[in-house]
């Protein structure tokens, strides 16, 4: 649904679990439909709380959240939530079915879809995430990366327009993480999804369109990932570390060498 130019418009959103300890303070931001946004920041800065607010799992204490042009309220949340999919850190926590197939179908059953439609979607999204051969398996038989693929397939099968990933790659090994990154790139490329990813991973942030840095419950910076990783002070403040390649380029520059040439050398040789 590309009708609304913004997937999210937040205006002065505040939230606290307890009155004396505010978690988010007057957060105002906009997220364009079809974009891929990373939300970053130190542990305890309110990232996951923001994700839950965006997903309609928590209600803001004050301020407004507008999703694709409609304000999120107690009444509208039930119509808005089907537009939003969430994938969490530990896929084990969101398995329900006793086989992968059942698990993907679970959400669809909740939507009361026709059996044929359900079968079709299970097949289609299993193929898309290359897990067709796993449909009859029990979730416990899968590796971490496979589980996360199943979790994503289950969400995609519901055909949401917005998907929120809350540290979805943090439990994956390096290889599975690389594969997940590719899945995200494909999703971003398709233009059908707005991706919101809460992450500490430098490579993931680098691959996204925009990084929103949270600190102490407020937005500390909103920048292109490249700018973020060039800003030493900001990195320190949000406790991030730039990708290896960026750090190496900086060190080379300090010594009067051009990192780009070294990396470009790599590409020409690859061809």
């Amino acid at each position: 649904m590309a009708a609304a130019p913004f997937a999210y418009e937040l205006n002065g959103v505040s939230f606290a679990y307890a009155p004396d300890a505010p978690v988010l303070n007057e957060v105002t931001l906009r997220i364009a439909s079809g974009s891929w946004v990373s939300i970053v920041g130190p542990n305890g800065c309110g990232k996951s709380t923001l994700a839950k607010l965006l997903g309609g799992l928590l209600a803001a204490n004050s301020g407004t959240i507008v999703v694709e042009g409609r304000e999120l309220t107690q009444n509208s949340v039930w119509e808005i939530r089907p537009r939003i999919g969430m994938v969490f850190q530990n896929p084990d926590n969101q398995f329900i079915g006793s086989t992968v197939e059942e698990d993907i179908a679970f959400g669809l059953e909740g939507r009361c879809l026709a059996r044929e439609e359900m079968r079709d979607r299970v097949q289609r999204y299993a193929e898309k995430l290359e897990i067709s051969q796993l449909l009859t398996k029990h979730p416990a038989e899968l590796s971490g990366g496979q589980k996360q693929r199943v979790a994503i397939a289950s969400i995609l099968a519901m055909e949401p327009g917005i998907i929120i990933f809350d540290e979805a790659s943090s439990m994956l090994d390096e290889k599975a993480r690389g594969e997940l990154l590719q899945i995200w790139r494909d999703m971003r490329g398709s233009g059908e999804y707005t991706l919101i990813s809460i992450t500490h991973d430098a490579e993931e942030i680098m691959a996204s369109d925009r990084a929103i840095v949270l600190r102490g419950g407020a937005i500390a910076a909103d920048a292109a990932p490249v700018e973020l990783f060039e800003d030493e002070e900001l990195l320190q403040a949000c406790r991030l570390i730039a990708p290896y390649r960026v750090r190496l380029a900086q060190e080379l520059r300090k010594r009067g060498m051009d990192g780009e040439e070294i990396f470009q050398g790599r590409q020409t040789r690859r061809r």
């Binding site: 850190q89 090994d173 406790r239 290896y244 010594r255």
Partner: protein, 302 residues
């Protein structure tokens, strides 16, 4: 020897139709006072291996020796209480091992259980919290009201508070912010260097431990694919990658540059600083980078 495995196999549901082998004939030697990293893809047996370190799992074949305790498949299970104080295990989701209503009680639980006085245990709790860089004000907070990363640190503190001789952690850094991860690695290294602890860490992010560890164990399909020093692992990189292990960029980039500039025999430079320094030396000795690149490009097109 801190930990020795002799032909250790472990199968879940052994002697049943559903038997699934998680470890197959593993041999290991981990010297006391070393810092080891364990790597391998998900499902390669890393966590199963770790759970043998303090007798949570008993091998279904072979023998495990941890400190002075022998746990064999054929032998009667020895008393584990003392071993469990001396070997601290931090599981994959340490926040799930929290249960008390204040952080202080949670951290004190282990030390109290192993016979420390309350005052002593409270001191320990403060000490451990400070080690993890958490503020003392957290002591009276409910651990379940903390953020995911803070809960993780509290859980790690509760294991360190028991002052174990061997500390084994299963992916302790996942979900921590990058600087907290770097700090935790540095802290473990400090415990290892200054207090002579044996530290064993399962990780998916090898880059973080590379500056500190003495050696690596790489697992695949329940077997050890590699055991040796970081240097040896860097040399074996091609083989390990063929076996499906994804190596961090600092290793792949070093190998590529080492091949390019003839540095293969040297100690690998795996930090941006050391690599940049080494490249600066090489390049100032052997003409400018541009010349080299042109020569290489020319060599390729010819």
């Amino acid at each position: 020897m801190a930990i020795t495995f002799e032909e250790v196999s472990y199968a879940y549901d052994d002697r049943s139709l559903w038997r699934s082998g998680a470890l197959e004939g593993v041999n290991l030697d981990i010297q006391p006072g070393t810092f080891m990293g364990i790597a391998g893809t998900t499902g390669s047996g890393k966590s199963t291996l770790l759970q043998h370190f303090n007798g949570i799992l008993k091998p279904t074949a072979g023998r495990v020796r941890v400190l002075d305790v022998l746990i064999g498949a054929e032998e009667k299970v020895p008393k584990m209480r003392e071993l469990r104080r001396r070997v601290g295990l931090v599981f994959q989701f340490p926040e799930q091992q929290l249960f008390e209503d204040t952080v202080e009680k949670d951290i004190c639980f282990g030390p109290l259980n192993f016979g420390m006085s309350l005052a002593e245990a409270k001191d320990r709790a403060k000490w451990a919290l400070a080690l993890l860089g958490l503020d003392e004000s957290l002591l009276q907070r409910n651990p379940f009201h903390l953020s995911g990363g803070q809960m993780r640190k509290v859980a790690i503190a509760s294991v360190l508070a028991m002052d174990p001789e061997v500390i084994a952690l299963d992916e302790p850094t996942a979900t921590l912010d990058p600087q907290s991860r770097a700090e935790l690695a540095a802290l473990l290294s400090k415990l290892h260097r200054e207090q002579g602890k044996t530290v064993i860490v399962v990780t998916h992010r090898m880059e973080e431990l590379l500056p500190y560890v003495d050696g690596w164990i790489v697992m695949k399909g329940g077997r050890t694919l590699f055991q040796g020093t970081t240097e040896a692992m860097v040399r074996e990189a091609a083989v390990l990658e063929q076996e499906g292990l994804a190596l961090p960029e600092c290793i792949t980039l070093w190998n590529r540059l080492a091949a390019e500039y003839g540095l293969e025999a040297e100690k690998p430079c795996l930090t941006p600083e050391s690599l940049a320094e080494r490249l600066a030396e090489v390049l100032s000795a052997g003409g400018s980078l541009r010349d080299r690149e042109e020569r290489l490009a020319c060599g390729e097109s010819c």
